[in-house]
Symmetry: D2
């Protein structure tokens, strides 16, 4: 960045590494550091020799340089650059979960910050379409033939991203009747397979939600208390309605009550949950769903404030991924039309089909909105539980040191 004093020489004195006992070494390093006075410069640091020389126009190679191909390349490179960053953040978050460091609640700030950063990047990527939209269908047509058979479908990073978040193989829309992985060759195909087998963000969040303090059956037992409260509440409503004089209103209210009862009966029906799970209509385990709802209801408890923000950010990711897909669809419509009635595969229609709740990994967090209840139906935390909620789990020294070592 221009004149950015970030980079200014400063605080060479400060070493972030803990001081070693061997002081001489430290001094010599300082010396080396100084020696490289003209040392690393901006362009080398950012490897600009790679970045800004990677724009080779196929149209130019084929002897018919088309101006707008440059924009096309740079835009896609910018997308890939940001995908790289998203994957970097995502991997670091997954690592915190996998290693169990998330049990030290101090690491929740990191998790939250990084997930939020992914949100901010996705927001930028959604806006970024406005730049590519300065190219018209006619400009695109001029160089389109030269791209064949390269296809954006081949973006490895995007597929990896989907896999790591938790888009499952079996919910993907096939592309030209082919499995998505068949669009990738040897090494890339293996990479994809590997990411399908790693724990997804969804899976890791699920495990974390299952451990939500307060779910313990021999403890606060949130789920049972909630069930009791809800059905007590509904029954009281029913009694009130029954006392009303007969009227159309009364009938409607009773009908509505019946619906509510069905709805909540379904919530507490584990078998039904597992059935929906098997169909891909739910994605979180029954226990994790309970944890999520508990965090929703007690979001103001200090210990749940940051977890609640995390759940919100996870929905943001889903929403933004889907907005990205939709903006992509809109641009494709503009660039190549819908080709309605022409037969043959339609990229436009394929893409449209991916703007679907099937691709929403955290769809359960959205759908929990269906199961909200009045505040006074939510089980009260007794003073003990209250205290317990504040208590951090023990943090041994091995955990603590972990916070610097990602």
């Amino acid at each position: 960045m221009s004149g950015c004093p970030y980079f200014e020489k400063r605080h060479l004195l400060f070493k972030n590494k803990p001081p070693t006992t061997d002081e001489d070494e430290d001094v010599s390093q300082a010396g080396v550091n100084k020696a490289s006075k003209g040392g690393i410069i901006y362009g080398d640091y950012l490897q600009l020799d790679k970045i800004v020389t990677a724009q080779v126009l196929q149209s130019e190679l084929k002897g018919n340089k088309i101006h707008d191909e440059h924009l096309f390349i740079v835009t896609h490179q910018a997308y890939e650059l940001w995908f790289k960053q998203i994957l970097f953040e995502l991997d670091s978050v997954r690592e915190i979960f996998i290693s169990g460091h998330v049990r030290d609640e101090r690491n929740m700030l990191k998790v939250n910050t990084r997930i939020h950063r992914i949100v901010m990047i996705l927001r930028l990527l959604v806006d970024q379409f406005a730049v590519l939209e300065t190219m018209t269908a006619l400009d695109f047509f001029d160089f389109r033939e030269y791209l064949s058979p390269a296809s954006g479908f081949q973006s490895l990073q995007f597929r990896v991203l989907e896999n790591k978040i938790g888009v499952p193989d079996n919910l993907r829309v096939p592309y030209n009747r082919r499995h998505y992985r068949d669009n990738f060759k040897g090494h890339d195909s293996e990479t994809l397979l590997a990411t399908e087998r790693e724990p997804t963000l969804l899976k890791l969040v699920e495990e974390w939600l299952e451990r939500t303090p307060g779910l313990e059956v021999d403890g606060f037992n949130f789920w049972e208390r909630l069930e009791i409260n809800i059905f007590d509440g509904l029954n009281q409503e029913k009694e009130k309605i029954e006392k009303m004089p007969d009227s159309e209103d009364k009938e409607e209210m009773m009908a509505e009550l019946v619906k509510q009862k069905e709805l909540f009966t379904s919530l507490f029906d584990e078998k039904r949950h597992d059935h929906l799970l098997s169909k891909g209509e739910r994605r979180l385990s029954y226990k994790a769903l309970q944890g999520a709802l508990m965090i929703y209801f007690y979001r103001e408890e200090p210990r749940f404030q940051v977890p609640f923000q995390l759940l919100t950010s996870l929905m943001d990711i889903d929403t933004l991924m889907t907005k990205w897909r939709y903006n992509h669809v809109c641009m494709v419509h503009r660039m190549i039309g819908s080709k309605a009635g022409t037969g043959g595969s339609s990229g436009y229609h394929y893409l449209r089909s991916t703007v679907s709740d099937r691709y929403k990994v955290f769809v359960d967090l959205f759908n929990l909105a269906t199961f909200l209840v009045p505040r006074h139906w939510v089980p009260k935390l007794n003073p003990n539980v209250h205290t317990f909620l504040y208590m951090a789990e023990c943090c041994d020294s091995s955990y603590c040191s972990s916070e610097d070592s990602d």
Copy 2:
């Protein structure tokens, strides 16, 4: 882009190149094209092997990997990628002006579209700070020392961009009392010097404005007519005011009138203009200023509609460059503080000083707002002039073919 059907194989039949007489060659090419069936794929096309492997953390090299340095690198790389694109558009526009192709008014669409594209990219770059702002001062502090002495001041592309638009050497704020070019070594320094000597966008626009049809002294003579109308108008106002009974109001109006007269007298004073020009307070020649004002007043004439859009976009570029600078300042303040009272160079204060009208290349286009007059003071186009304004300049075949050859 994921699943982007842009890239789909299609229309292989269509050759944008005019058909050659040697048909066999064409067929064989088609064959070759088919042969490379697995041909160019997405990752190779975008040279992702370069793009997504160019993130080397200095902190990691020094044995103390700091997570957030990755974001720092990627963000700066994204900036440089877009700077590359802006320069590509800017160079193509400058080339249209330099080659004289702008005289074929068909090329105005290209000029306008590309300048507008620069505007859209700059808008994205201003928004892009929101991503880097997810890094706090504390995160930055952890790896800041490793960057020394790399400095964003060393962004060659940004300096080239400033030069090519038209930020002049002598209006630049010195950085630590050093000439800006002294921050660059050998080849880069020469590149900068070269760009200072090339025709800037400002210069090229100036020449184009000087040719605005209607300025000819032996023709419509816009400038003389305007001067006459304005002073006639002011004199009529004066007479009206003089007829009013004495009052505080009358005095105020008369005082205001005197100011207006001074203001417009200064507008028509070529010597004063040249004086302001020499001080850097104006940047366009006297004649070009007339052209710009003419385009302002007659912007609805078909021939001036696109030129008027162009002037507006040039102001957009200035505004967005300056907003970029300001957003940069805001982030630096957050990252390193103002270091008030600590002595030593302050990057923050340097950057603040560049958020200045000295860096607004098209400042005259803004300041023309001071010289607007009521519509009925604007000289009427007589039917002849009207016709003449619609007439395109002759476009010979060499020009016409130019439209495909940028």
Copy 3:
């Protein structure tokens, strides 16, 4: 706006109205103007007494004030305020078309600027969801019951907007099996009916496209020339392919050629067009479609530059309306879930169904991307035609004066 010197007293001397012969009147008006020295102030000008007092919380009225209802109200009011502005711009553009003023090409700048302004407002409205998204499903649940039975479906301005752009009655998705107009009472319902009968933007643009110079059968006859060129081109391709030795490639190329031929045959088949028109799959008349394609191909001709921008902006409007709908869907999903399996009407699913190409008014402009051809297939303008394209239509005085009188 704070300290905004826009409002500053200045140029009281300048009267935009042409000077009257009765000078005394003018002076006295100036006097009156001065008399109102403390005259109109900011808050009165903007009628802030209405604007900032219009936030009445239903939850508060019902004795249970919920903080977030205020945001809900203000956000919706901001939407309605901007809908008002969009309608104001839209009406003015429609008026220019209806009155025939668009035949004076000077008015194209106005048309273009105002349509572009609608685009910029819609862009803001899409972003505006980010503010309402700071409210969670749980916050919303707290006051949701108090809103019944008010429904966003009842936004009169939004329905009027859809009607005036050109969403036709018969392509609308029914809401709970009811006609959309049945959600509105007496006067509002009549307003809607009236707007359905007024000329829509689509209709007006269609008429304008039908007049595209160059379509005349006894003149340049673009459509016939294009048809000839395309089929000549395809035949040449066919011959080349036939000369190739037999191979899989050859077969594929031939198959693709057949598809292309079918595609273009359909383009020139007026009956098929009318059939698609009757089904709502096309929306522009056959002649207007020709005009649009002509503007596409000759967009660099000075006379077509601004029309081409207009077509692009019309697609922007469609795209942004549809993005607005989709962002709306995303928020609703978050706020109330999908209520899958609960029975009863699902607002979420209704809204999803409106994110459809059925609601894209200018869908034909998108789909024309299917019918692009190589530049050398586009009929050449001969020098005469070239000249004719530059020629403006005669502009009599009544037209010219129109430019000030909207």
Copy 4:
């Protein structure tokens, strides 16, 4: 909003108010609710009769309707609508602080969420300039005279907002040599005076920071420990440098060390702090500054995670207010020019002067970036302190009930 199912009738059964003992009352209310079946509708709820009828063009009243004035009015009304919302959030946050409810840490989620909402609104308002920028200087000139003497400087809400955040009277830039309050009449002027006397957000945050757990001199005593660690650290650096062989490097490092020592000496100098405070260069008390730095260093402690987010959001508000001011300046430059050299008050130059750190209320939070130190210099929390940091303050029942009653 169109078709927004938010508003849908649903869950009438759910009463958020705790159930009363008098069941009959509850049932009757439900009845009333049903009775108003056609009850409140969208337009009435939002008081659209006020909102969308409040656009009266002065130019039209004066007999010369200028189209673009409508945009001017609507834009300003949208700003004022959002200012209202910002003030609503700000007041609710201030109330939580003033009432002491912030001591119940459960309320921190509310504080944080609402401050973040202000951030999101300000972000929208910064973007909103893009809409008004579709109006050119020439369009504005056509109706500008009619606005006199209304001035954006007269936006009461904006001044109230500045006051409530904490822009102090004595740091304001005078406007035309007049006190800012003199631009307001009677009642408005009193409102402003009143807001100057109420506790500002700055003041309330200051008090809260002063209570940061860990600052207690008889407890963890963060400040003393930090001072010891820093100077120990600096001394160790000094010793190392002294052992180096003489060289230019050594001299530079020693010079840098001296600067650092001065810098940190100034940090721990309470008198110097108070001096800077009196000059307006610092705005937080010495104790509050300590609290802020403590939150910075221990931001990962569960108890400090949300407070750290809050400090970040407060900087966001400052940054966005200042970006808003700067964008405003940019637009004014475009609309009326800088009027350089014309004499008379310059709105442009006044506005520029308000884009100043004097208007940054939380400037200290930015400048703390100057005082960061390596992680191993930060005093370690011993296990006891660790525990203590997790402990919530006792929350009695009166507090707890408060969370529903804002």
